[in-house]
């Protein structure tokens, strides 16, 4: 079995708790799996507390509370309180939808460390279109309240062809809202974003223009605002060091308790991802087939196997190799050394053609109806 040698297992540092797949928004680039509607069971408050306790004991310290929309969970405050008692640094990753001042205060008292609010665009019309929900003014209000109550405020904007032309306005909005951190997350093409790729993938010229604007802005806000830039890997020559290496740092727990080495790994075949209701976090991390599958480099094929950069990017992303090359052991097609690199060129070309076409097909919004339609 690929990579199934237990050498040098490092402890988890990052626990991503996807508390629910339920979400009032319908963003067409959602990172949740296309078939999320099939996985509608959710583990209990006590299960989450046990997971947090076990992972913390192993060394996890950063906790992402995500979803779906984590605010949908009625026990969010209780989970936050437990996390703080254990010494986690907790990050609430939210659309802000439905977040009241009362809740912001309650979460602060429970020990929440930071709130990341996502905004879809710099204008109301586009924000509400992409979110599939009227939410722009409320989100801005939430950003103000997050600042007011002493949280570090992280604004997250997912970048794609529909909003990339707004880059200058997005940066000005982040500054006006007093963001301490701005995450410019170029869309990663998995799940819903993969289904909508022709409509979301910007051209290389658009990326370069946007990046130039962001770089210049970065210098003007140095010391005031930090900018995290999630790279647009389709326009790079080398793949991202996905997950900092499989099973080295990141542990994701899906709403139904399935443990994943990355939040997209549910789509990979035959990993037999374990569930926290059956086994402990320690067994999951150290002993499970799924977490050992791509550890180390025994699993690699050429050109990765003999590549002098393999310890830098670990062969790139397994989910992307599977999705685009049909082989999860293959070199990430983003790499210019990959024999499958042409699929990236084709994807870019196909998106450009779609952009130039007179009748663009509509975006497929992320909702339960579409999830059921697409996964049958």
């Amino acid at each position: 079995m690929a990579g199934y040698t237990k050498t040098n297992i490092t402890p988890p540092r990052w626990l991503l708790a996807e508390l629910t797949y339920a979400c009032p928004l319908q963003c067409p680039y959602c990172a949740n799996p296309i078939d999320y509607a099939k996985h509608d069971s959710e583990i209990s408050t006590e299960d989450w507390k046990r997971v947090l306790t076990q992972a913390r004991k192993m060394g996890a310290v950063q906790l992402g509370l995500s979803g779906g929309e984590p605010l949908v969970r009625k026990d969010l405050t209780e989970i936050v309180k437990h996390a703080r008692d254990l010494g986690y640094y907790s990050n609430l990753i939210t659309s802000g939808y439905g977040l009241t001042e009362e809740k912001i205060v309650q979460l602060k008292e429970a020990g929440l460390d930071h709130i990341q609010v996502s905004i879809q665009a710099s204008s109301q019309e586009l924000n509400d279109h992409i979110a599939g929900t009227t939410s722009f003014e409320h989100k801005k209000q939430v950003a103000h309240l997050v600042k007011k109550h002493g949280y570090p405020m992280v604004l997250c904007v997912v970048i794609h062809r529909e909003n990339i032309h707004q880059m200058a306005d997005i940066l000005a909005m982040a500054e006006a809202l007093g963001a301490d951190y701005l995450e410019l997350a170029n869309t990663q093409y998995y799940g819903w974003a993969h289904a909508n790729r022709d409509l979301l993938l910007p051209t290389k010229e658009q990326f370069e223009e946007a990046e130039k604007i962001a770089q210049a802005f970065k210098e003007t806000v140095a010391g005031k605002m930090k900018i995290y830039y999630v790279v647009p890997d389709f326009h790079e020559d080398r793949p991202k060091a996905c997950m900092n290496g499989w099973g080295t740092t990141f542990l994701t727990i899906a709403p139904d308790g399935v443990a994943l080495p990355c939040h997209s790994a549910r789509d990979l075949p035959n990993l037999d991802c374990p569930n926290v209701n059956d086994v402990s976090i320690s067994e999951i991390w150290n002993d499970s087939k799924a977490f050992n599958f791509f550890r180390g480099d025994d699993w690699m094929q050429e050109p990765c196997r003999s590549c002098d950069e393999k310890e830098k990017d670990f062969g790139g992303c397994r989910c992307q190799a599977y999705l685009l090359a049909g082989d999860m052991y293959a070199t990430d097609p983003v790499c210019s050394k990959s024999p499958n690199h042409y699929v990236i060129d084709e994807a870019i070309e196909s998106a450009r053609n779609a952009a130039l076409a007179e009748n663009e097909k509509p975006l497929i919004f992320r909702n339960s109806k579409n999830s059921k339609l697409l996964s049958n």
Partner: protein
């Protein structure tokens, strides 16, 4: 932005300095990130409590470790800490 020798230094309210048992070291935690600290950096940051200036931090540490000549190293580290937003003065 450089360190003002006359003003007290305060550890950032939006970062957290914490001992990590699993790693056997102090770390700084902030949104979606973590910096691992060596023992001397952690000792310096623990004294950034909003009352001490750099002069006082240096003399406290020289006394604690019965040594001298720490100013340059401490100053260099605090400049880095200031640039990274781990500490502030106001």
């Amino acid at each position: 932005m450089t360190l003002n020798p006359d003003l007290p230094i305060q550890f950032s309210r939006t970062h957290r300095l914490q001992w990590e048992e699993a790693q056997q070291k102090n770390v700084i935690l902030y949104p979606e990130g973590m910096v691992e600290l060596n023992a001397s950096s952690a000792e310096i940051l623990k004294l950034c409590d909003g009352t001490r200036t750099i002069t006082q931090i240096v003399s406290d540490l020289e006394e604690k470790f019965a040594t001298q000549g720490l100013f340059n190293d401490i100053n260099a580290f605090l400049e880095v800490a200031l640039q990274n937003g781990w500490i502030h003065q106001n």
